[in-house]
Symmetry: C3
Subunit: 394 residues, 3 copies
């Protein structure tokens, strides 16, 4: 109680310091990039060629996913709806500002300045998604500060282990209190929370193709990413209804399954979205990933909670861990099985000067890493959590 109050009083202080430091950094160290700087435009510039037009509507789609979709999805607990939407709003802004600066210093810093444009906002948005997903695991057991502590790891793509460290500090220590398994009194879902949460899931579902395709090469690659993602998501929806009504009592479809497993195909497709897997491959991935997700909810989450004392509040392991593994396997299989001819003469020339073999090896490493990462994140977190349980569970 006192600890909780201590944290709460510190929220304004933390935010003031953070905003003060960021104001300094923004004023001293940021400037425009080549697409936002008026002075560097040639006199015959074509305004329609500005990078803004390649990304803006997709950026807005993902903002809607993050703030409305994920916000409403997290509103599934009655009595926590407003807080979930509000903290999701705070946390995503906190993360994006932090990611803008960290990614800026690492990747966009030259001549003493971070060079900013919409592309930076977009990559910051992606880093934020990872943190918001993790937040789902501990929802309803956290104060704002605890959520913010989770946001510090969004620098790049190799920071998984650093993440787990902060996560362990920020989440496990503060949260794993004895008696928690009995459930928080506010956690009872209500009818209207379910409805809004389902609408949130549908927002995520609708804009998922934007999310998957936005960083893919423009042209046919991006087109394939949209097609595959839709096909996989759609197969996930029907599979979810089928399996959930089979497993649940009286044939009623579980709201939890509906809010998660319908998105599993979108998670799994991430590794191979622009590759030549054919629509049939996307369909298969959609079916397998939602199947894995629901079985995870039904059998694995209770096992983890009862035997390993890991409470995965929103089932992130089921939605991100298992489909992530499926995606990684699909990535390896696709690279090994799909002949190079399927890509025509494009992939070799565009942004690699490498020989064919080197390119293929690089791609394999790249895609496998991508797929394994969501699993790795969860897995490392589990190990950290276990490490901290003894000292906290007392």
């Amino acid at each position: 109680m006192a600890f909780s109050k201590y944290l709460r009083c510190r929220l304004p202080v933390l935010l003031f310091v953070f905003q003060g430091v960021l104001l300094l950094i923004f004023v001293l160290f940021t400037t425009y990039d080549g697409h936002t700087d008026a002075a560097s435009q040639p006199s015959d510039v074509d305004p329609a060629g500005n990078q803004l037009y390649a990304f803006f509507s997709l950026f807005q789609d993902i903002q809607l996913m993050l703030l409305v979709g994920l916000g409403l999805l997290l509103a599934f607990m009655k009595g926590y709806g407003v807080s979930a939407v509000a903290y999701n709003f705070l946390l995503s802004n906190f993360c994006m500002q932090w990611a803008l600066i960290v990614q800026g210093f690492i990747y966009h810093y030259h001549e003493g300045k971070i060079h900013l444009g919409l592309y930076n906002l977009l990559t910051a948005e992606f880093a934020t998604v990872a943190v918001l997903i993790s937040a789902g695991a501990i929802l309803g057991r956290t104060s704002p500060i605890q959520l913010l502590l989770m946001a510090v790891d969004i620098g790049g793509s190799v920071t998984v282990h650093v993440f787990s460290c902060y996560f362990g500090l920020g989440a496990s220590i503060a949260l794993y209190r004895s008696g928690l398994q009995t459930g928080h009194p506010k956690e009872t879902p209500s009818y209207i929370s379910d409805l809004l949460s389902l609408v949130g899931a549908i927002f995520l579902w609708v804009f998922w193709p934007s999310f998957v395709s936005v960083l893919v090469h423009p042209g046919d690659g991006q087109h394939r990413a949209v097609l595959h993602t839709w096909v996989a998501l759609s197969a996930s929806v029907l599979t979810t209804f089928a399996i959930s009504s089979l497993l649940e009592k009286k044939g009623k479809v579980s709201m939890g399954h509906l809010q998660n497993a319908t998105l599993a195909g979108g998670v799994a497709i991430g590794t191979v979205a622009d590759m030549a897997i054919n629509p049939g491959g996307a369909f298969l991935l959609g079916i397998l990933s939602s199947l894995a997700c629901i079985l995870g909810f039904k059998y694995m989450t209770p096992f983890l909670a009862n035997k390993l004392r890991i409470q995965d509040q929103c089932g992130i392991h089921n939605l991100h861990g298992l489909p992530g593994i499926i995606g990684a396997v699909a990535g390896i299989a696709t690279i090994l099985l799909v002949p190079d001819e399927a890509y025509g003469h494009q992939l070799y020339h565009k942004d690699t000067g490498n020989t064919e073999t080197a390119w293929k090896d690089g791609l394999m490493v790249d895609r496998t890493t991508w797929g394994l990462k969501s699993w790795a994140k969860w897995s490392t977190w589990v190990r950290e959590e276990e490490k901290f349980i003894p000292s906290v569970g007392l």
Copy 2:
């Protein structure tokens, strides 16, 4: 009761079989079209010219209409909100997958494969809209399977009669039980359902111009379609408030009118959206169609329910039947009255090699058919319903 349980147990089986068959078809019979196939791109392809960029944001708009807008709109019955949103989600995916395959085999099948891209998703989306609208007629009286049975007719544009047959089997037989007129206990609307349903209607209203214009020729034709649709929809809104507050007790605007008649202008404009009807013509259509829609609700729906025993749960006849007729008449009138000069030298050359007269005749048939179809669909359904009533109503 036993019958209902029988149906419910069969939902997983139906969905498993459907997904199994579709997986086979997707794996064996689908491949990429010219815009998604990497191998067929020339080495000097302009990525920005990919068809993806002409359709993607409009496709997303219509997804939002279907899943969030229509989903929330159907949530108007308290206690059915979650089910309505969830089944709308299931049904639209079922329909789109089915339409992808049926339309694929009919229109996009060559060299042993269905060739898929975003354009196919878009036309499948349109077929789905028709089914979801029909679903509104029997909402709250159906199980998931009954809704899915309605989805089997989405092959093309001449399948209206086949539709009515399946509809008769799927909907009327199963649903028309004696004592139904007294109303289902869960049908009481509540305050928050009304609010969400109105928000759903507004989502539909906002994205209706995308829906009407997406398949229109790019350029000035699409621009006219957007302008006309907005003008007609806006006239419908004010007319709805005016007439509804005139007809209802104490001058209060009816929620049912608000959720339907504000969209009537958008339905009626469909036939003539890109033609040179002038903004004034669109304004007139908006007024007339919402007027017809509200009068239909006030006088025709009770008449149909009491005298002909046809329960049109969501008033689809009022929103789609009557404005459809107005649209058909407008289509004929426009072709007869607007001089050819209004279209400049474009329409004759673009996709018709025909002589002027043949083109005009074809257009007339085309537009009239389009407008009459929504009425025909409802009308045939009525006739089928009547045919089945004797054997079911006992």
Copy 3:
């Protein structure tokens, strides 16, 4: 009571007359502009160059802001949610139709016709935003007619004073009844209203960059506007959480602050969005404006209500008045401080043939006016309100 009933009975009459007159005007006086008129397209026109594609997705974004975002935001009072969304829907359509005609006769009337296209819808949308914001001030104390009376001033940018006159007539006379300060019984907020209102605020927040950037020159200027707006809005979010949890009891963040102050940065940035203020300048504006907004809510609104008898129901002074002043000051400061070189060789050539000094003077006047206007609107309204209070407050 009798007066209120008198008004309510007149709503259908007012709307019928309005729609009748507008139908006449639309039929007799409107035609297509150069982008919607088929006859005026050259035979080698590039459809992709149509103005539609520059504006349509941004237009839809702003429609969503107005109808869903603002609608839900206004739903913050339990028992008024449905009415707020519905009247917001009616009022915005009333305004847009009126603005189309008034702006049409003033700016787009030649050869006996108003020439219409999407650009007209967009500028009408902007005029509507101003009216809907004002409506927030008297929400929950108005009948539909009173709201509509507020919509008559949307002709151009110099009509602020005319506005105040109508506003005084439409709002103050009818509304300022004795005993109003005790609060209306329906004004109690509820949990679910809060949730929906917050979602509405987030819709506004997400699409605010579209709103700010849509009328800015395409290319790097529009890109800067998007970047600045996002940075300012994001700084406002964190500042709002910080200050609100500091000022409120028990460190809980106030819902009212969250729904307003998070948008303050977007209001203030309006004057300088495309200028070379650097991301740091945008960050600073975001912090200052949300700070001013919350302090306004905390100390100024009660003072106005108690001492000056001005009930600013939704706090429009805090969200639009104060950040407007900050924006005006920022506009002046930017023009004085940022060297011309920051704009390269673009701004001088594009749409001004003026000499450098004249251009700079014009810009200064333009931007200062823009920023002062939102404050002026509120301020004039206050003066009008004071003028009418003696004759009404009895």
